[in-house]
């Protein structure tokens, strides 16, 4: 069966008109078509938040779990059935805040999943509080004197932790984001894609124009295998924000390091109660 845009259907959404999430959904569908990925062969995993509702808006297998817990659920799914393509799609609060510890250890583990972070630098579904990526000084009703905590630099953190694939894209550039998602899915290990996204309702500072003015694409001359350079690029934030695969290496995936068979998923392994008899003698 050939996959086209119709394969993923059309759904009503609960997003605000003009939300950056529409751009991410469009780019994701485009990537899935180009990857020729049939809906039943993949699982979209999310946590909680407006971004985490995305899996409900296209045909796919879905595990929409708890706030912050998308990555462990996705990891469990991939471990049990490595024939499934597993993508996580959630927001900055979910992945970098509530689920921060899971992200840290998922990067170390390096299982073959693609983590798409809708990073709008604000908690939107709870009506506008600071997120781990909110800029210093960003004012909300809970942070009336402005954010005083240093923002997380997700890609620098990922690279420092040994991530094999760290990319940044922009919800307003469908073609680029689609390409990053395709590259992330093809990468044999954990791919993290930090997607800059505007929030039309709560983030008046980092709006579409703010990002549009600053983002630029890394050119072919950029060497994404140079870790030191990559760290530097991942911290570039201000007047200029680079987009692209910031860092990529060929470290072994969890599947390779663990020795999971490629041709047989765990879920297809036989259950043989009688086999227990063969180890009972060890206890005599």
């Amino acid at each position: 069966m050939m996959v086209d845009l119709n394969s993923f259907g059309k759904f009503e959404t609960a997003w605000c008109p003009g939300c950056g999430d529409f751009g991410i959904l469009g780019a994701l569908k485009d990537a899935l078509v180009k990857l020729d990925l049939e809906p039943h062969k993949m699982v979209l995993v999310s946590g909680i938040g407006q971004a985490a509702k995305l899996p409900h808006y296209l045909y796919s297998n879905v595990f929409n779990g708890l706030h912050g817990r998308a990555i462990p659920a996705a990891t469990g799914i991939k471990m049990a059935n490595n024939k499934l393509t597993v993508l996580v799609t959630s927001g900055d609060g979910d992945i970098y805040g509530e689920g921060g510890n899971h992200l840290i250890h998922a990067i170390r583990r390096n299982i073959d999943i693609t983590v798409i972070v809708h990073n709008n630098q604000v908690y939107a579904l709870t009506l506008g509080q600071a997120s781990p990526t909110s800029d210093l000084g960003y004012v909300t009703r809970v942070q009336p004197r402005g954010v005083i905590d240093e923002p997380i630099h997700p890609l620098a953190m990922a690279i420092a932790l040994g991530a094999g694939f760290a990319a940044r894209s922009f919800a307003g550039d469908k073609e680029h984001l689609s390409l990053m998602i395709q590259e992330g899915v093809k990468y044999r290990g954990l791919a993290i894609i930090d997607v800059l996204q505007w929030c039309v309702t709560f983030n008046k500072k980092n709006n579409f124009a703010w990002y549009k003015k600053r983002v630029y694409k890394l050119g072919p001359e950029y060497d994404s295998s140079d870790k030191t350079k990559a760290l530097e690029k991942s911290l570039e934030w201000g007047d200029k924000i680079p987009l692209g695969i910031i860092y990529k290496n060929g470290r072994p995936s969890f599947e390779e390091a663990y020795g999971l068979p490629k041709d047989k998923a765990l879920v297809d392994e036989e259950i043989e109660p009688a086999k227990v008899n063969s180890i009972l003698k060890e206890f005599i």
Binding site: A14, E38, P39, H40, K41, V43, V45, I48, K53, P55, H56, Y59, S60, N61, V62, F63, N64, G65, L66, R69, P72, A73, A74, T75, G76, I77, K78, M79, A80, N81, K83, L84, N101, H102, I104, H105, Y258, L260, L266, V267, E269, I271, E272, P273, A274, K275, V276, N277, I279, L280, F283, I284
Partner: protein, 574 residues
């Protein structure tokens, strides 16, 4: 019971108590004797005062005894145990290593260290001298110990094996010659075929293997860690993926992901880790994802006594989790029972698409019991997952189809016939997020909770032990069965007609199983907790308040003797 001997090895952490304790226990189980061995440890790696006790009998025993017949004293604090000694008890120690100033029972000063060195070894094998001495006192076949020493040390080198064998023989001879007044029974025969010796953690792990569990994610926490450790040792053979996760929140979410994808999955922890899993427990309820969770209880609150035992988490695991969704709680009454209940836990989880909690504890997890066999052949594995053939014939597959039983047809992601959508939000029959409060929400709540009706029928009746006509009844649950059963035997032998109603399937509670309360004259509930949690449950479910309670909450398990004492005290105070 003709033979009932308890040997206690007492000393510091790091002195090898567990190693010699297990060797001793295994020496007896290989000779066909029944063994119950348990350990009482402090939460530290070196130092402190710990003990490992091995109770040996000609018949099956399931609990520790109160009296110590042979005490191997390896540190100064061992003198603490003189209160457990009888006049026939024997204490073995080395006066060059420790001070032991008690006159209770018979005292035997054996130079463990000197003998070890003379046997061609170093002081590390002093313990082997002590082992040999115990066998000498009991005139037990030392060749069985030699066999075990060979198996234990052959991978190191032949010299170590020889030194250990000589040290054991020397210890044997010293004890055998020195004690003329030894009044302990002699074990100079076998008591049947060699038996398995297994602890509770290993048994739950074996049950999981037999049930086809393919996935465990857990965070190390005493006293639950043994389950993950044993599964890791069999991971390749049985194709089990073992993942030590970053925290217990990850543990349960990993397992739920794996279960959603179709494998039988579990996690194991103790009370504190369970607290972190509660959010995930609620997720299992909402997404109707099967999972088996072991809570190996230890005394709380908070960190409590990490290496001691308790039954304090009963109400907690039954009520934990936001919102309302069904679950089952099984509390194995013995190590053997843990095997079958683990298989049952996986079957129930799959059939009802619910979390099933196995409520274990440190006593069950860390104790060793002799077991003749596990009846693996009779096990039934029931997955309740739609095949591709079945799915092919379903138009518009709905993961959360509303049904009379409350159980919806379960398919796995990856099948080409129906997408599998699971959501922690309230969802429609397809699994998609909804806020339809007029129809879908109430119908989904009812659907999920309808499963309890079926589940209730799956819960077995309590074990009734003792004279059926008895009007005096002790109620217990979980791992205290061995001590309570023995207490019932003692009381009946003293002409007090008592029976035991012991529950190993504690939630949901079937009211019908409490009909005996209508005719009973004296009832008491014995639990390893302060508040009497099972008694509360009984009151809540049946309306019958049982005021007589035996509660122990110092971190140690019940012994039969103290149950007998407490029972009499309650009865006499009426």
């Amino acid at each position: 019971m003709n033979v009932d001997i308890t040997i206690k090895i007492a000393g510091e952490a790091g002195q090898g108590l567990q190693t010699i304790g297990r060797l001793l226990a295994k020496a007896f189980s290989r000779g066909g004797w029944h063994v119950f061995a348990n350990q009482v440890l402090q939460s530290r790696i070196r130092g402190g005062h710990n003990w490992f006790q091995v109770r040996v009998s000609d018949i099956k025993i399931l609990a520790p005894a109160e009296v110590t017949d042979i005490l191997i004293a390896l540190d100064n604090e061992s003198v603490y145990h003189t209160r457990e000694l009888s006049e026939n008890s024997i204490t073995i120690f080395d006066s060059s290593l420790i001070k032991y100033n008690s006159e209770k029972g018979l005292i035997l000063d054996i130079p463990f260290e000197k003998t070890a060195k003379e046997s061609g070894g170093n002081k590390l094998i002093s313990n082997t001298v002590a082992l040999g001495a115990v066998l000498g006192l009991l005139e037990y076949d030392i060749n069985i110990l030699f066999g075990l020493l060979k198996e234990s040390f052959q991978e190191k080198d032949q010299g170590i094996v020889q030194a250990n064998i000589q040290a054991a023989q020397a210890g044997y001879n010293l004890a055998y010659q020195k004690i003329k007044a030894n009044k302990l029974p002699r074990l100079n025969r076998t008591n049947g075929h060699p038996r398995m010796l297994i602890n509770g953690s290993e048994t739950i792990a074996l049950g999981a293997l037999a049930a086809g569990c393919k996935f465990i994610s857990a965070y190390p926490m005493s006293p639950s860690t043994g389950i993950m450790t044993y599964l890791a040792s069999q991971a390749e053979e049985f194709k089990v993926l073992v993942e030590q996760s970053e925290d217990e929140i990850a543990s349960i979410n990993l397992a739920l992901g794996a279960s959603y994808a179709g494998v039988r999955a579990m996690t194991a922890t103790s009370g504190g880790g369970f607290a972190l899993m509660v959010e995930g427990l609620s997720l299992a309820g909402m997404t109707e994802t099967p999972i088996v969770i072991v809570d190996a209880q230890r005394p709380g609150p908070a960190t409590g006594l990490p290496t001691r035992t308790a039954q304090e988490d009963l109400e907690y695991v039954i009520y934990a989790g936001h919102g309302e969704s069904p679950r089952a709680v099984l509390a194995p009454l013995s190590i053997e029972d843990a095997f079958y209940l683990t298989v049952k836990a996986f079957n129930l989880a799959d059939k009802y698409q619910i979390p099933v909690i196995i409520l274990s504890d440190q006593l069950l997890a860390d104790s060793y019991l002799t077991v003749d066999s596990f009846d693996v052949e009779s096990l039934k594995i029931e997955r309740h997952i739609l095949s591709d053939e079945e799915l092919k014939n379903i138009k518009n597959y709905k993961r959360y189809q509303i049904t009379d039983s409350g159980i919806s047809p379960r398919a796995l992601p990856g099948n080409p016939y129906g997408l599998v959508v699971a959501d922690s939000d309230e969802h429609d029959e397809e699994g998609h997020i909804t806020e339809d409060v007029d129809y879908i929400r109430p119908e989904m709540v009812k659907k999920r909770n309808r499963k309890t009706a079926g589940l209730l029928k799956e819960m077995s009746a309590p074990i009734q032990y003792g004279p059926p006509e008895a009007k005096n009844i002790i109620i217990g649950w979980g791992s205290s069965y061995g001590a309570l059963k023995e207490a019932v035997d003692i009381l009946n032998s003293e002409k007090e007609k008592v029976s035991l109603a012991h529950f190993n399937q504690v939630w949901p509670l079937n009211k019908e199983y409490f009909d005996f309360l209508n005719t009973a004259e004296f009832v008491c509930v014995a639990e390893n907790n302060f508040r009497g949690q099972f008694a509360h449950l009984i009151a809540g479910e049946t309306g019958k308040v049982i005021k007589n309670r035996i509660n122990k909450f110092n971190g140690l398990p019940f012994s039969a003797a103290e149950i007998v004492r407490e029972y009499k005290r309650l009865k006499n105070s009426l």
